[in-house]
């Protein structure tokens, strides 16, 4: 199970990083969201995986580690605030700069055919 879990964390990280490296702000926001899933799962796993062992007293014989859970809980909420902030910044940047590229300007090697195929779908 641990191997599968680690694979999923790694895959989410890779997907998140790849999207975060894209040029358009919305892709970056999506990438950051994926990355924060990965980070949360990673942090949570530092308390080790346990089945049927909720960190509530009197519920089971052994408890999962409550500390990473508390950390991740706040991280999820803060992660939402961060995503919201990034998204609003992206909107604001588009409003002020006229494009949604993270560099503020669209780089000068336009690929007209690709632009058309992206738009027609």
């Amino acid at each position: 199970m641990e191997g599968l879990y680690a694979f999923c964390v790694g895959l989410l990280t890779a997907c998140g990083i790849f999207l975060a490296l894209r040029g358009r702000s919305f892709s970056v926001v999506i990438g950051l969201t994926l990355l924060s899933y990965a980070v949360n799962l990673f942090l949570f796993a530092s308390g080790r995986l346990k089945l049927n062992a909720a960190a509530v007293l009197g519920q089971s014989e052994q408890y999962s580690d409550p500390l990473p859970q508390a950390l991740v809980l706040t991280a999820i909420v803060i992660g939402f605030a961060m995503t919201a902030f990034a998204v609003i910044l992206a909107m604001r940047a588009r409003a002020d700069l006229g494009n949604d590229h993270v560099d503020g300007t669209i780089p000068t090697q336009p690929n007209p055919t690709a632009r058309k195929s992206g738009g027609s779908q």
Binding site: M1, E2, L4, Y5, A6, F7, C8, G10, L11, L12, T13, A14, C15, I17, F18, L21, R22, R24, F26, L34, Y37, L41, F42, F44, S46, G47, R48, A54, A55, V56, L57, S64, D65, P66, L67, Q69, A70, L73, I76, V77, I78, G79, F80, A81, T83, F85, V87, I88, A90, M91, R92, A95, D96, D100, D103, P107, Q109, N111, R115, G119
Partner: protein, 932 residues
């Protein structure tokens, strides 16, 4: 001696006075400004009697004793001498500047800079700690920069100031490294310890490095060859500044430094070679250049360089008598040079020119000033009965006794006499060219005598020239003795300050200098013609060239690494991060640890496959944004399932509700952003990014796996054991959040609130156009609020609120709590917005989300502060059990109030973000419709 601490700080207080009193009359401002320096001078002089008896005053306030930092001052003979010069000449300059500055100049600003500079100089000479000395040293560089660039509208003032700051600042850095090495070698940063361990320092292996670095600091400050070029360019300053900086203070700081460290560093071959040869070169170069200057101040500036070289040469000689002569010349030079600068300023002020080719025959117009200038100039030349003569005689005597160059030692007295010849020649030029030699040529103004009180400072200084020259031991005997013995850190040698020593060799040298100088001036037209053959090289241009070259190089390097592309920066940051993590992973021998793994089951595999497919689908279809959003939400749902599976019900609930809110947020945002992403990454970039992303994914996955398969050594046992007894709850996660780590949570909800308010402000000023259709050109649906959804969501609202209340109340003991309840409530309210629209909601739900955030954080803070009332630390919780009829036993805990704060903040923040973003889509909708 606590009053010692006040000595430098009284002037510091004094920097405020001119700024406050600048609106009064100029005279009032000048006198009030002078009050505190005068008081300081009085305090300094009150110590003089004791110091002449050999007392050393020290005072210190410890700061960080373990690393040798303290505020420490000392007042010995040397510090006394310099304090008197700094304060005395400073007071005269204040008076002089009142008449010199025109009505256009801000006199308050000028005095404030001047007093700031005075404070820094006093700090340098009074410091008893190396680091503190350096601090004040740098402060003199900065405040002199402000003074030199006082007329900042002139190019040469800005360039001159920048050059002075660059040269002295660079020297200051060398000095700092030298002082640090010195302090570490001795093991103390106290000046007293340094002065007492002279033999130890000279024996240590670090000695050459220390000497070179400290001398670099001194030479740059004192304009020694080859760093002398900044001083003439600093002449762009107002003349009072030149009179102050280049006679008694700024440039003397380097001399002071050499005198201060004389017992610790001097008297070695290395010291002799560097210091005396540099001094000799400076002495000659300065004197030579001075002769060919046409600018009055340029002549004085180069003569200052020459005299500084003379003092340096004396300090380098290493004999006690030479040190006495150096100290004596410091006094004399300060007096005559200050008066000469002031006289030059008067000439400039009253005739409108400083060019000696224009200035001729001024004797007729200002005989009184001319007399004063002539006396001071004679002192500079070393004419008998003037103070300059005495120290120059001592200088000539010492050069004769110098044997350090072996059989070539006779060079020193010969070159000294040659320097003397130049000095007489340029002094004669100063007198003859300006006051005689025909009639003035094209002067902008008709010259006349200056205002009465503008002359007073010059008169005082010139009187001192004569008094010291005629009654040396009576006027400065005690001061010189005290300063000399402080410099030598021991008894001063016996010397005779008489004006007549009989017919001897030094007198002959003086005579040669006088006659030779007069002859040289007489034959000046030949000399000028000879000099004119050389190409002129302006050090300012060379310096500017070097600076331009360096800054061009620097900006080229910057443009190589910084092209303004965030996309590129993040790639480099991530690449560097993966190198750092991967390299330490290689030290791990096996990936898998000892801990047994949980067996796989079908459900988990299915979920994992689903997760991987949706994550990959997000990447593959990321350019079609709505689809990417849908697949992203699948990933989020499976993540919350994973939390549920691995015994984290709180996390699962939180993730689930955040997921809903996030997707709504992103969909709203997508309304204003393009629906699709153009394909613009080059194949190379895609491959490169894929490579980096896979590498990082692999590294993170490996760490995760290695971590999970190793046994856990947790600190959570404490929380598990104390959750019920200490925090009064059985849900350990919630007790950690609201009790054990409550302070963290308080910080976190504050951040949440700030983020929400920041977003609110960003939205409020957003000027986005409303897309009238989607990317395919289809108009938005007119059917805005489906009636079925409206009815269902409206009837679900009470139920949803009930659930969230239940989740909130049970949170302390069962999965739930403020965060989750807050999110569920938000989702319930958002559902109403989605179903009915903002306009409908506005009239029905009247919640001010900003106030909600504020009150949430307020309640949480107050519940923490409450524990102070009962004498506990911040945020310690309290709980007890109560019985009520019907309901039975129930618990009340202060942590619940805290959780209520969390609850309110989460609702407020979430709703502030979403409701405002949503409102943006509707408030402009009517305008949009007109276009359709």
């Amino acid at each position: 001696m606590s009053s010692l601490i006040w000595l430098p700080f009284l002037p510091l207080l004094g920097t405020l006075i001119p700024l406050i009193t600048a609106r009064l009359s100029r005279t009032a401002c000048a006198f009030l400004t002078a009050a505190l320096p005068a008081l300081t001078l009085f305090l300094v002089l009150s110590h003089a009697g004791d110091i002449f008896q050999g007392t050393l005053f020290q005072a210190s306030i410890p700061w960080i004793p373990t690393i040798g930092l303290e505020l420490a001052f000392r007042l010995d003979g040397l510090a006394l001498l310099f304090s008197i010069l700094i304060l005395g000449i400073g007071l005269l300059v204040i008076l002089y500047a009142r008449y010199y500055l025109s009505a256009k100049d801000s006199i308050g600003k000028f005095y404030a800079y001047l007093i700031l500079f005075m404070f820094s100089m006093l700090g340098v000479v009074l410091s008893d700690n190396l680091i503190q000395l350096w601090f004040f040293w740098e402060l003199t560089s900065i405040s002199s920069f402000l003074l030199i660039s006082f007329w900042g509208h002139k190019t040469e003032a800005r360039k001159g100031a920048r050059m002075a700051l660059t040269v002295t600042g660079a020297g200051g850095l060398a000095l700092l490294s030298g002082l640090l090495i010195l302090g570490n070698t001795v093991g103390s940063f106290s000046l007293q310890d340094i002065l007492e361990s002279g033999p130890f320092i000279k024996d240590s292996a670090n000695y050459p490095v220390i000497v070179v670095l400290i001398l670099l600091g001194a030479f740059t400050k004192s304009a020694q060859f080859p760093f002398h070029f900044w001083l003439p360019n600093a002449m762009a300053a107002p003349t009072p500044v030149s009179a102050y900086l280049h006679s008694a203070t700024m440039v003397k700081a380097g001399i002071f430094l050499m005198a201060r460290f004389y017992p610790a560093l001097a008297d070695t071959d290395l010291w002799f070679l560097i210091v005396s040869l540099t001094g000799l070169a400076t002495f000659l170069v300065g004197a030579y250049i001075a002769l060919f200057q046409h600018d009055l101040k340029g002549l004085l500036a180069n003569s200052t360089i020459s005299h500084l070289g003379l003092i340096t040469l004396l300090l380098g000689m290493g004999t006690d008598l030479a040190a006495v002569a150096a100290i004596f010349h410091i006094i004399n030079h300060a007096i005559f040079k200050a008066s000469l600068f002031m006289a030059a300023g008067i000439i400039d002020h009253e005739s409108g020119s400083r060019d000696m080719r224009q200035l001729n025959g001024l004797w007729k117009y200002m005989p009184y000033t001319a007399t004063l200038a002539m006396v001071a100039s004679a002192s500079m030349a070393g004419v008998p009965l003037m103070n300059g003569f005495l120290s120059k005689e001592m200088f000539f005597t010492e050069t004769l006794h110098q044997a350090s160059l072996g059989s070539l030692s006779w060079f020193i007295p010969v070159l000294a006499t040659l320097g003397g010849v130049f000095a007489v020649a340029y002094s004669t030029r100063f007198i003859h060219d300006v006051f005689f030699n025909g009639e003035p040529i094209n002067l902008p103004k008709t010259p006349h005598e200056p205002p009465r009180y503008m002359r007073v400072p010059v008169e005082i200084l010139v009187a001192l020239c004569l008094l010291v020259g005629i009654f040396p031991s009576l006027v400065v005997g005690d001061l010189l003795l005290a300063a000399a013995s402080a410099t030598l850190n021991g008894p001063a040698p016996s010397y005779n300050l008489a004006i007549w020593h009989g017919f001897n060799f030094p007198l002959l040298m003086s005579f040669i200098a006088l006659v030779g100088g007069l002859f040289m001036y007489y034959s000046r037209s030949h000399l000028f013609k000879f000099q004119a053959q050389f190409p002129t090289s302006d050090p300012k241009l060379i310096f500017e060239g070097v600076i331009q070259y360096l800054s061009a190089k620097a900006s080229r390097i910057i443009s190589l690494t910084e092209n303004g592309s965030l996309q590129r920066y993040i790639f480099f940051v991530l690449a560097f991060a993966v190198i750092m993590t991967a390299s330490s992973l290689m030290k791990l021998n096996t990936t898998a640890g000892q801990r047994p793994e949980i067996p796989l089951d079908a459900l988990s595999i299915t979920c994992a496959v689903l997760l991987c497919i949706s994550a990959l689908a997000t990447v593959i279809w990321h350019r079609r944004r709505v689809i990417a959003l849908l697949t992203l939400s699948v990933v989020g749902l499976i993540v919350s399932l994973a939390f549920a599976q691995f015994s984290a019900p709180d996390l699962a609930l939180t993730q689930l509700s955040v997921e809903v809110v996030t997707v709504i947020l992103l969909i709203l945002a997508l309304f204003f952003l393009p629906q699709t992403t153009p394909k613009e990454s080059s194949p190379r970039r895609v491959v490169r990014d894929l490579g980096l992303a896979s590498l990082i994914g692999g590294v993170i996955g490996t760490i995760c796996y290695a971590l999970m398969t190793r046994p856990l050594d947790t600190i959570s046992t404490f929380f598990t054991e104390n959750s019920k007894t200490g925090g009064g709850g059985t849900n350990i996660v919630n007790v950690i959040l609201v009790d054990f780590r409550g302070f963290d949570t308080l910080g976190e909800i504050t951040v949440l609130g700030i983020a929400a308010l920041g977003i609110y402000k960003l939205i409020a000023r957003m000027r986005l156009y409303m897309p009238s259709s989607d990317d395919n050109g289809l108009a938005w649906s007119e059917d805005r609020h489906p009636i079925l959804l409206a009815v269902i969501s409206q009837s679900l609202l009470p139920l949803a609120l009930l659930v969230s209340a239940y989740i909130f109340l049970r949170g302390h003991n069962m999965p739930g709590g403020g965060f989750i309840a807050g999110l569920i409530t938000s989702v319930a309210i958002i559902q109403q917005y989605v179903a009915h629209g903002v306009v409908w909601i506005k009239t029905r739900i009247k919640l001010d989300y900003q106030i909600m955030i504020g009150s949430g954080i307020g309640i949480a803070t107050l519940s923490g502060l409450g524990s102070w009332v009962f004498g506990h630390t911040f945020l310690s919780s309290w709980f007890d059990y109560f019985y009520l009829p019907v309901i039975g036993k129930f618990e009340l805990a202060s942590a619940m109030a805290f959780d209520l704060g969390v609850f309110l903040t989460v609702i407020g923040a979430t709703m502030l973000i979403l409701a405002n973003l949503g409102q943006l889509t509707t408030s402009e909708r009517p305008v949009q419709k007109e276009h359709d």
